[in-house]
Symmetry: D2
């Protein structure tokens, strides 16, 4: 009974513990990049029979989850994904959660993770999800567009290096080599050696491999035509903002010249 009667007073008495929560606001005026990474995805991909070297279903599911994040958080202006990672770029003017670091990263990563389970069946069909996956996330501040572009280039080069290696590796393995032999064959090779290997030994032109594998996915806002039903029931064409996915090379200046408003987001 004393529990009941004194509860409000008790709460005031305990409320001082809130003061232990420290402010984690991020610097204003800088770009924020929230990058999420799959936790234990080596095991996860093998338990769920992901196709090697790339599983289109998995990449498209990742893209779907990321598009949910863009739609939910206005301050996310562009996203880039490859393998089991996704980077979300928040505008330097972003005021989301007063720029509180933990709020931003946890809201994004939890929506991404719940979406991964929610949309799994849409992409993996009969392949049953055996257990809920986890991701981690971090936020890094980038003070200007030059270094932000270098970050984005870094991830795309990383995508390329890994994909070229994995493509060679799994092609060798499929051709009958053991994983160990494949690894040894590739040890010490440069990018052009690997291209040559694919072309000479297997007739594969690396540039013919789908761009989503070679370059990853850029999710951005664009204006698209859409048929919208009016109250009257009549369908009309409207130009509306929507998240679109491209697989361009954004290391090159050309990309940024052609997409001058990319970092402005939905507006």
């Amino acid at each position: 009974v004393s529990f009941v009667i004194n509860s409000i007073m008790a709460n005031s008495k305990y409320e001082y513990v809130k003061k232990f929560e420290l402010d984690d606001r991020l610097l204003p005026g800088v770009w924020l990049v929230c990058r999420i990474d799959g936790r234990g995805f080596h095991k996860f991909t093998s338990e769920h029979a992901f196709r090697k070297p790339n599983d289109l279903r998995a990449l498209e599911l990742m893209n779907k989850c990321a598009s949910r994040v863009l739609e939910e958080f206005d301050d996310v202006v562009v996203a880039y994904g490859q393998s089991d990672e996704f980077s979300f770029v928040l505008s330097k003017e972003a005021a989301l959660f007063k720029r509180r670091s933990a709020k931003i990263s946890t809201a994004i990563v939890s929506l991404f993770a719940s979406s991964y389970v929610f949309y799994w069946k849409e992409y993996f069909h009969e392949e049953v999800l055996r257990y809920p996956p986890a991701f981690d996330a971090r936020i890094v501040c980038y003070p200007n567009i030059e270094v932000l572009r270098d970050y984005l280039s870094w991830r795309q080069v990383d995508c390329h290096i890994n994909n070229l290696y994995n493509t060679c590796f799994w092609t060798l393995v499929e051709s009958g080599k053991s994983p160990k032999e494949a690894e040894e064959r590739l040890c010490g090779t440069f990018s052009d050696d690997k291209n040559e290997l694919l072309f000479s030994d297997f007739g594969i032109n690396y540039n013919d491999i789908p761009a989503i594998f070679r370059r990853g996915s850029i999710l951005r806002w664009d204006l698209v035509d859409k048929m919208v039903k009016r109250a009257s029931g009549k369908e009309v064409q409207r130009v509306i903002p929507a998240v679109v996915t491209v697989h361009d090379d954004w290391i090159k200046d050309a990309f940024w010249i052609e997409n001058p408003r990319l970092l402005e987001g939905r507006k």
Copy 2:
């Protein structure tokens, strides 16, 4: 082609962007509490027809997700949940992710969120999940057991205050009052007024309401008897550590006297 040939060099060139990631390690020797909260759960509960004032299915789903977190992360020694929030207590010796704050909070919250979708059907059956939910999370450091206990008491008193209010409110509404009338009826009342109201007007003894509603859920490690199948096929009883859920009053000293090893976790 130049993209391909120079990719490794390019990556080294861009790798400097890693230096913008700052160290966010938390103080050693203090208890860490990671509290997660449902985002936009007012809308979420109404879209999914949650029962008022409490939905047992929802609370048990939350508990299930939390037990996944305890099983996954050894350093989480106890957890407390109520409504759409859960607090995870990490040992003061916790070395998880080198105590990097963002890693800990995002790994926990993303596993919780993906579990929420994964296990939804087990608890909500025919009630379809309409969209993936999100949670936020924060980590707070508590330097000693006294203040940690005060934190845990704070959350349990909060549970009680809200539940007593909500029980009265929805009982009034079910009895025919409008929400506005119910609110006015409760305005300015103390805990004992509310108990009296429930008892006199509706014959409800508040203490008969299930403890999970009144006190929330404490998830802890305990040794339980379990039948285990040996290699020979014979079943034998074993004592193994497992996550158990109780609904005790841990504001009182008695609880801590009876559970002296609670904060030691699985060990």
Copy 3:
């Protein structure tokens, strides 16, 4: 004796306490401003009979201390002082103490404070320093030149507002008004009212007041001619970098157009 024999082992045993020191490195690629402020200078100025509204000796002593800071720390590219405060701008490439925040602010503020006592007599002559003064310091990150310039303008406007007010206040007091009357006379007046008051009632043209009072002091590196004695004993003129003090209006673009390399420091 056991103290002596086991001391090294003891030290290893205690060294774990170093792990409680957390990393406080500041974001790379942003300008750092370390601003120091006199602590308790209201009392300090009255105990040391500072002249009102401005004491040239005090301002020149501050400038001297600041020039020591510029000479000591290469990464400080420019400094701005007024009243009992000084702002030190560190280059966005600054690597001083690996950009550890506490190291930078404490090294600067302690050198400033010890210099204040060390050089006191040079400026205050027979006025005896009664006790050692203290300053506090903080470091703020500014991500680009626009916002850095706005910071510098903010401090210069602050100098102006305070100096105009103080000039009017002390002129009124010297003319026989009580402090209270002077305060009332100035209450609600705008800048042009104050200029008019000085001019009409006292024949003072505010713009004739020394620029160091109206605009504060900008300390910067410049190349200056200096006579240097060679080994042969012969004096020759050399162009060497030196800290120079100016009192320009750097709110205006003109200043930055005329001083395009200001933020490059000594180089």
Copy 4:
């Protein structure tokens, strides 16, 4: 003129730059240790002909500066100094500057540094101070008395190890050895070897060396008898709190048993 008229408006326009200052409050409920270290004191001691292996004047000057810090900041409960470093312990309830880290460290270090110059002559007499010294400071949080005591023991063991080595080294050098020979003689020796060396070769009993050199200085509040002049002119004895300096071994439990209220400070 426009500068003058619009200054207040200009200031409001620029004031947004204040938002770039981030909160650096330290965790409540933990002990704070602010340790300051001389910067470039190798050069400083040689330029000012410090006596080797210990200069009593220098140590007493350090203690004087530290006592100023204790007198100025109530929250500093005890301090420990050796060589060119000093540690200031702030109570776990300390509310100084709302526990803002930069404020605390810079206020302490600047008062210490200005005091060093201010009191120099009192200890070094005819030895002229050639240039103003600098110190750096850092703040570390310690969550409980055990680890705080380990920190304090760590510094005292460090004092001992260095002093024993330096005593041997300079005794050897004074006896005619070159610095290189002295270093080689000591290489690989343990504490008892060094004690033996001092005793056998030079007749020095290490324990007879003044405790201030062997153990450093503990500055603490105590009640002392003091003659105070009344308004009537009559002198009376009063018990007042004052900073006292001791050179005890506080690694041993005995010290803490004898000084149970040490960490309560002035109260």
